[in-house]
Amino acid sequence: MRANLAAKSLLGVLVLAAVIVVSRPGASYSHQDRESPLAAASKQHPAGTDALGRDRLVRVSAALLLSLAGAVAAAALTTAAAGGVGVLAAFGPESMGWIAMLICDVFLALPWMFLLMIVRSALPLSASPMNSAVVTFLVLAALGWPACARAVNKGAHNLKSSDWMLHARAAGLRRRQLVRTAVPNLLPVLLPQFLISIPAFVIAEANLGAIGLGIGEPLPSWGGMLLELDNSPMLFETRWVYFPIALLIIVLLLLEAIAMEA
């Protein structure tokens, strides 16, 4: 419990710091300081600049905010979809449940990375960076629900066969009323699923970006910044290129700690 609180507080501090950095006057993640590419840490650029002279601290902060916002939104969507499908499959007619679980199996048979690549590769060539970010997280949400739906379905089935639910059915409650009563009781299943999805989506976006299929430039993303590590001469210029990956690992550890406690 104490670890959970510490993780939440630390994550809150990081997000607050990122907001402050991004909203500083003159801070821009895409502004190129042509006079100082690959600059070391200085008062003007506390974490140095990248190969195009863009402030690394601003870009990392923006990537943190974008990645967290996208992952939280995608996790909320995926949990809602999984909740809907899981409950429908458990409380609906048996054939509907069978079809829903078959669809889950079809999705589960296709690993995320391949589906993501299919959809990402078929995006219009002229897609704007913001559109590529929205599509990336939407695709993550669209592909992430089946495993979660299976867990919700199991929880809903357990609820359906519980004593109080049998009593409610015997007392003549309609299906809709049963569902309305059951959904709040599924929160202990839905909340961990939501919290587990967030780091999973952050990792998926980073992996996708690192192979060049993630969020388009100049929008900063974890994956895009991992690509900096491919630039060997840059690694000898400044050790600050490791800053994004170090922060990403810290954020993921905090998210995992929060999810574990749930």
Partner: protein, 285 residues
């Protein structure tokens, strides 16, 4: 008789899943907003008339029925269709890479399972769970595969097998530790330990058989995780396998290749489900 019916039911379901995966992937590709766009359409060297002709040609050959029939015909012929990028049958591209990917996955899985089983057996048998065992696994889980591969490459230490093994073993350790811990502290095992039965007999005679079904399920999950990690690992280490082929196809919009690789992966994942105690279900049917 019941067992035969159970096998038949499983086979029908597997077939349905693979067929639906083929149809679903094709529909997904066709409905994607940029499916009909071609890199040549934004190339200034081509005139307006050529670009219009390219768009019209793409629209003609890009109907859903055309795509689905081409996909199925390709699979019926046994060549998986023709690559848009290389102009050769997809099977010619896939077959040599299957061996490379299979070898990489096999070595990665064996190393991962050896690591995970040994560490989880040691950590779960301890009286109190130690942070010393948990911390490395938690840290490894927090590093994206691509980052881990890049760091290994930069450090000049380790290769694709090691990255794959580290990723898988961290995931497997997390589950195995909990499962084995429960098994170690079962009352009958506590009594067996108190009676002084040797540790290796306890492990092979009691602990491992009691967690067999969970271990089998975890093994099939490992295969799915390994397949997902395949793309970044093969791309970053420049391994000429299926993951690299799929990535290359994605960058060049070679959808016949991408679809074929996806279908092979779907087939592999579905068959991996066999490991998750289906034989046990059939025996008890």
């Amino acid at each position: 008789m019941k067992a035969a019916a159970a096998v038949a039911r499983w086979f029908a379901r597997t077939l349905a899943i693979v067929l639906l995966a083929i149809v679903g992937s094709t529909i997904l590709v066709r409905l994607a907003p940029g499916y009909l766009s071609d890199a040549r359409e934004i190339d200034s060297r081509y005139g307006d008339a050529v670009r219009a002709e390219l768009s019209a040609e793409a629209a003609r050959s890009g109907t859903l029925t055309h795509l689905l029939s081409a996909e199925f015909l390709g699979w019926m012929r046994g060549d998986g269709g023709v690559s848009r990028q290389y102009g050769v049958p997809v099977s010619e591209l896939i077959l040599p890479r299957l061996e490379v990917t299979g070898g990489l996955m096999l070595r990665g899985l064996v190393l991962a399972w050896t690591l995970a089983l040994c560490t989880s057996l040691l950590s779960s048998a301890a009286r109190k769970p130690s942070v010393l065992w948990q911390a490395p696994a938690a840290l490894l889980l927090a590093v994206p595969t691509a980052a881990m591969a890049t760091l290994c490459l930069l450090a000049g230490y380790g290769g694709p097998v090691l990255v794959m093994a580290l990723l898988l073993s961290a995931r497997d350790f997390k589950f195995l530790h909990h499962t084995l811990r429960k098994a170690w502290f079962d009352p009958h095992l506590l009594q067996a330990r108190a009676q002084g039965i040797r540790t290796h007999r306890l492990i092979f005679g009691f602990v491992l058989p009691s967690v067999r079904s969970q271990v089998c399920a975890l093994a099939s999950l490992s295969i799915v995780t390994a397949l997902s990690a395949l793309v970044p690992v093969e791309v970053i280490f420049n391994v000429p396998g299926l993951g690299q082929l799929a990535w290359n196809a994605a960058l060049n919009r070679d959808l016949p290749v991408l679809l074929s690789v996806t279908i092979i992966v779907a087939l592999a994942v579905t068959l991996a489900g066999l490991a998750s105690d289906r034989p046990g279900e059939w025996r008890s049917a």
